[in-house]
Amino acid sequence: MTTIETFFRVAQATGAEVEAEAVVSPVAFSARYDLDRTTGLISRNDHPLKGQSVRGKIFIAPGVQGGVAAGWAFLSMRGLGVGPRGLIFGAVNPVMVQGAVTAGLPIVAGVDQEFFETVRTGELVRISPDNHTVAIVR
C-alpha cells in the first residue's frame, strides 16, 4: 500500500517533530474547562468531542480561549502521563505556547484553512516545526 502525505504550511512553530493520531476539535480550546486534566478526557458537557481522549494524540483546534490555566495544564498532564503529544491551532495566544514549551510539546499555529477542512479525527498527522509544516499521512 502506498502512503500519501499531504503537506500544509504553518506560520508559527516550535518543538521537536512528532507523528501521532489526530483529535480534531471544531471549536476553540480551553485548557481549564474542556479537559479532565487527570485523565486526558474531554469532559465539558456541551463539547462536540466529549468523552474522547487527547492522551498520546495530536490535538487540533481552530483557536484557543480562556485564561492562563493552559500555562501549567500540559506540564501537569504530562506528569500524569495523560497529555497530548502535539498541538495544532489556527490562531493562538502566548499562554498556550508558553504552556506547550514548558511541557516540551511541539506546537504550531497559523495553519492553512484547508488543513482544518481536510483533517479528520483518527488520521495520522505529523508536525515538523523545523520545516514549518504539518502533514496528513494516509
Binding site: A13, G15, V68, W72, L75, S76, L80, P94, Q98
Partner: protein, 415 residues
Amino acid sequence: MQLTAAEQDILDGRHGEALAGILREQVSVGEFFGAERFVEVTNAHFMGDREVFGQAGANYLTRLADAGVTVRVPTTRNAQSVDFEQAHLLAQSPELVEGEKETRVLLRRLGVSTVNTCIGYQSVYQPRLGEHVAWGDTGTVAYANSVLGARTNYESGAAGLAAALTGRTPEYGFHLDENRRANVRVRVTASLDDHADWGALGGLIGERTRGYWNVPAIEVVDRPGPVSDELKHFGASLASYGSMAMYHIVGTTPEAPTFEAANAGRELIDEFEVSQADIDAFMARDLPDGGPVDLVVFTAPQLSFFESKHIADRLQGNKVSDSVTLLLTTNSLTCEALREQGHMEAITSAGGIVLRGTCWYVMDPAAQREHFGWGNLVTNSAKLVNIIRAHGYTPALRRTDECIDAALTGKVAGR
C-alpha cells in the same frame, strides 16, 4: 533570536544548567512569535494555582529551587487558592491547603514575594509608562498595558517565573509599538454608574471582538473618565470574555490622548456603539426575574481598599441574611488597612467573610457548591460571572448596592 553575550553565557550553562534550560524555553517562545531579541524586565508577577499545576508543577518548582536559582527582579505572586486561617469556613480540602503551604515555601526559596494578590498594581507596585514587565494574571496584564502604559504579554504559568529568573522576556506582542495600536473602535453612550457596568462593557466588547491581538479604543461620551477600580473591572472582564491584553480609553489612558493617536493608522476590524440598553440587557441575562440568593461574592479581582470601605459603610449596623453567605476577597495589605480603620469589624460584625490572599474562583468553588448546596450567586464582577458558570453555579451580574441588598435580604431583585 539575536542574543547578547550575557544571554549566550546563560544559554551555555555558565550560570548553571537550570537557568540555561529556562532561557531555552524562553527562546522557543520567542522564536515561535518571531521575536528578534530579548527585552530586560524590571518586575515579574507569577501566577500558579496549585489546583492547576499539580504535582508536576510542584516538581518543576522544586527542581529550580534545589538548583539554587533565584529571581533577578522583584517578583510577586498572584492570588493563591486558600486562606490558611479560614480554609475551614469553606470546607477546603486538606490536600489543597497542604499543597499551597508547600508552594509558598518553594516560591520563597526562589525569591518570589508571596503577597498573593491580583491587584498588586493597586497596592504593591505600579510600573511607569513604557516600563517592560512580565506579568502572569490576565487582569493585571490588561491594567499594566492599558492604564499604566507599561509593556507585557500574558506570561502564564512558568513563563512569568522564567522572566523573573532570567530578568528578561522575548520581545514580541505588547512589548512592541505596532501591537499596541487600536484596531477596534467603540463609542459608549452608557453612563456606566457602577463597577458592574464597566464589567458588562468589558464583557460585551470581549465577546464581540475576542482575540489576544485585538486592541479596542473606547470613546466614552457622556461622563468623566473612569477611576482605577472601574478600569480594573473593565480590563479583567475584557480579558476574561475576550482574551484581550490591552485597551485604550480615549482621553484617559496614557497612549490615547485622541482616537487617532491610539489607532495610529492600524486597520480597524470592527466599529460599534454600546448604549445603556446594551449594558442593562447584559445584566439581565441571568436571574432576570430575581429570586433567592445563596451567595453574594465580591472578588475577581480582589477588592481595593476603597471598594472594601464602600461595602463596609453599607454593612455598618446591618445583618447579612441567615440564608446568604457574603464573601469578599482581598490581599493581606488591604486587610491590614481595613482592620486598622475599623472597616473589617463593620464587615465581619454584619456577618460578612473577608478572605485574604486568595480569589474565590480559584478556591475550588465546585467542591464548595457540592458541600454547601449552593446555586444562585450574585456578584458585581462580570469576570466572575463568566468563569463560575462552568463550576455549576447560576451567577447574576448586579450593581454593587444591589449585591449588598441581596446579601441583607436573601433575595435579588429582577431586572
